[in-house]
């Protein structure tokens, strides 16, 4: 009954799909799947890291109140003091007492410089290494890593994003849709809709899927295009996830309640704990967003409140990863779109400052108890070892062993590389 010639509706949908999915040429060097091919752990070299946990402080984290303090200058520092840490000579904010005990694992990068002073554009730049422009959409970090790193768990998504601006951090850009990370809403409820309808038996489900494949077969044959195949791959991958025995990875209720408290029992803490579980189940990239850093008003109150959440989550994550032997192979990144001004404004807030800010790297072969780069005395400019956003992302790529010089040609014929023109900071390793 449902064949092409008789069904105009089907024909209409087919044509729609052809038109909307586009006729772009295939441009992605698919991993050879022929027999006897051994993939590479990383395409370029054995990276020091297999996994990345990317903690994104959206809104612009104040560096001067957290990791790069100026206690000698009270007018710009305001009412917050530094405390000693587990790393010799490194002092961080009293807002972060637990993290202070983990600083021997951490490299602080004090010389970050961005060119983007608006949240969305700064966020885009951080996540893609390219500045936003109208003519092209750039893939996010999670997508790039999905593209370059072959799976070390064949049944779970390789790249998972918890929260944040999904138009940026889930964006597949010019890659196929299947390369985009998998989004998660709340870490405590696991992934939704993976159970399937309990009223439908396995045999019926199988029959339905077979029918779907039959119906799709003609269309797929007539439109032999990567992009269309990619949508089919997404279905396949979803089914694989649904039947994966590793779904347990997403169930943080399996963890000891005490441990959960140590992570802070906040959505962020839960997500950090989930990230550690996912690393154990060999997920490559997990991004977690912690918002609320845009402290234009009452900066110190806001930062203190946010730090309480960050502190427990980050400290527990580093400690937990380390004690399970996972920190050696997991790069933990703390990133944000820009820093905040040293000058405290009339509403006791701090405004945007892309010219100089701070990020952290820990684990994954990165030196611990280390400070890289320097800001000036006023904490508003970089004076030593400037690190651009592409440099920072290139460092993440370096740890993972990504082929950073490999040029990917977008369907529109333009050349792109993992971290644009960034150079990794190899001194950090």
């Amino acid at each position: 009954m449902l064949n092409d010639s008789s069904s105009t509706r089907l024909r209409f949908i087919q044509n729609m799909a052809r038109a909307t999915l586009g006729l772009s040429a295939s441009f992605i060097p698919a991993y050879a799947k022929e027999k006897n091919h051994i993939p590479h752990l990383a395409k370029a070299h054995a990276g020091s890291a297999k996994h990345v946990i990317y903690l994104y402080m959206s809104g612009g984290m104040s560096h001067i109140d957290t990791f790069d303090m100026r206690p000698e200058n009270k007018t710009i520092q305001g009412p917050v003091a530094p405390i000693r840490t587990s790393a010799d000579g490194i002092r961080i904010s009293e807002y972060l007492p637990y993290t202070a005990k983990q600083m021997h694992h951490v490299s602080i990068i004090n010389s970050m410089r961005s060119t983007q002073g608006v949240h969305e554009k700064g966020n885009y730049f951080m996540h893609t290494s390219y500045t936003a422009r109208g003519t092209i959409s750039h893939p996010s970090l999670g997508t790039w890593i999905n593209h370059f790193c072959p799976a070390i768990n064949s049944t779970l998504p390789q790249s998972v994003v918890v929260g944040g601006d999904h138009t940026i951090n889930l964006n597949p850009g010019f890659f196929e849709a299947k390369n985009a990370p998998m989004p998660m809403v709340t870490p405590s409820s696991g992934i939704l809709a993976v159970k399937g309808n309990p009223n439908i038996s396995q045999s019926r489900k199988k029959a339905r899927l077979e029918k779907l494949q039959k119906m799709n077969a003609t269309f797929m044959k007539q439109n032999d295009m990567k992009k269309i195949k990619s949508y089919d791959d997404i279905y396949r991958e979803a089914l694989k996830v649904m039947s994966s025995r590793d779904l347990l990875a997403f169930d943080i209720n399996k963890e000891n309640p005490t441990l959960r408290q140590q992570y802070g029992s906040t959505p962020f803490g839960d997500a950090c704990m989930l990230a550690r579980r996912l690393v154990e189940y060999d997920t490559r990239f997990i991004e977690i967003d912690l918002g609320g850093w845009d402290s234009h008003f009452e900066n110190h109150d806001e930062v203190e409140e946010n730090c309480a959440t960050l502190d427990k989550g980050l400290a527990a994550l580093l400690g937990d990863l380390h004690s399970r032997g996972l920190l050696d192979e997991t790069l933990v990144v703390l990133a944000t779109e820009f820093g905040r001004t040293s000058k405290i404004n009339s509403r006791k807030g701090r405004d945007h400052q892309p010219a100089a800010f701070t990020t952290l790297l820990a684990g994954g072969g990165v030196k611990g108890g280390n400070i890289y780069g320097k800001k000036n005395n006023d904490c508003d400019d970089v004076i030593e070892n400037e690190v651009s956003i592409p440099d920072f992302n290139a460092t993440i790529g370096y740890a993972l062993g990504l082929p950073q010089e490999e040029i990917i040609i977008s369907p529109s014929g333009r050349p792109f590389t993992f971290a644009d023109k960034g150079n990794p900071i190899s001194d950090l390793f």
Partner: protein, 315 residues
């Protein structure tokens, strides 16, 4: 007939890109570079009393410098124009920020074609050398593609034979993940964790010397015992695994081991492994495990979790 004549004439006219002769660098390519690129990409020179340096640290006025590229990247991959920015960047849209040349007219289609053909044919410079080059200019670009910390794998890879592909395929068919540590290296990473079918022990044995990093979590006896053959193993994950007496003994054979993860691992009758022969061992993760070694070892043991205390922190 008329069409054929036109075809012949047009072939003769486009003598530079004739289908038969190779592109001659000095006759066809050099004039294009001279006209479009040399203005910015040549040896430093004085202009109005100021020294002009080559843009982007890239010189195109010498064979050696074209082959070198700039400090970061090569610009020419002989045989592959698509991967050669020297060709590729000239083909971009005029509004693209990376297009070359950035100002003035772009290359014509015919000129692009010449570059394309010249590179596809292997980028032969003939006898051309171009402007002189100082030795310091030829210092190789910093190589980020192969970090120093992985030199160890490089040396090791040289001493290894290529792994048996059938053995690898057998393991992959049972769900194992096998990967080369880096491109074309015979050194392998092996994870048996996702295996859902029976693992072929003889295949495992065949590639045992190639395995440098291994994940043997939740494996049981006959497979764990096969560890003893993996004489080159450097990183081993046995987290959460129950180890039989024989597999505990097998651990003592892993002379190259540097990192051992035994967190949550349980030992049969709490028999302790003898790790003293493992002279290269640097760290053992032993949180919640049956391992009862004292901390007085030449390697580090992680036995306690450094987690935030639950007591509310007071300022």
């Amino acid at each position: 007939m008329f069409k054929i004549i036109i075809a012949i004439i047009s072939l003769l006219l486009s003598s530079n890109v004739s289908a038969y002769a190779k592109v001659n660098f000095e006759r066809s390519v050099l004039p294009i570079l001279k006209e479009n690129c040399f203005n910015c990409h040549r040896a430093p020179y004085k202009l109005k009393g100021r020294i002009k340096k080559p843009k982007g640290n890239l010189r195109l006025d010498s064979r050696l410098m074209i082959l070198k590229g700039n400090d970061k990247k090569k610009i020419l991959v002989a045989g592959s124009p698509r991967n050669s920015p020297l060709y590729h960047l000239t083909t971009l849209h005029k509004d693209d920020e990376s297009v070359m040349p950035p100002k003035g007219d772009l290359l014509t289609k015919a000129e692009q074609r010449i570059l394309f053909n010249w590179i596809s044919e292997g980028a032969d410079f003939g006898n051309w050398e171009g402007a002189p080059v100082k030795s310091e200019e030829l210092e190789p670009a910093r190589d980020f593609s192969f970090p120093k910390i992985h030199e160890q794998y490089k040396a090791l890879s040289k001493s290894l034979k290529n792994p048996s592909l059938t053995a690898v395929q057998n393991l992959m068919d049972s769900g194992a993940i096998v990967m080369r540590i880096y491109k074309d290296s015979p050194a392998l990473y092996l994870s048996l964790r996702p295996c859902d079918k029976k693992i072929d022990l003889s295949s495992l044995k065949k590639i045992s010397l190639n395995i440098i990093q291994a994940d043997f979590r939740n494996q049981s006896s006959p497979i764990l015992e096969s560890l003893k053959n993996m004489k080159n193993l450097q990183t081993l994950n046995l987290s959460g695994t129950f180890l039989s007496k024989e597999s505990i003994l097998a651990l003592g054979e892993l002379k190259e081991l540097k990192t051992l993860n035994l967190s949550n691992a349980k030992f049969e009758n709490k028999i302790q492994p003898d790790l003293t022969p493992l002279k290269k061992l640097k760290i053992v993760y032993a949180l919640n495990s049956d391992l009862s070694l004292s901390n007085q070892q030449y390697f580090k043991i992680v036995k306690t979790a450094e987690l935030p205390s639950i007591k509310q922190f007071k300022r």
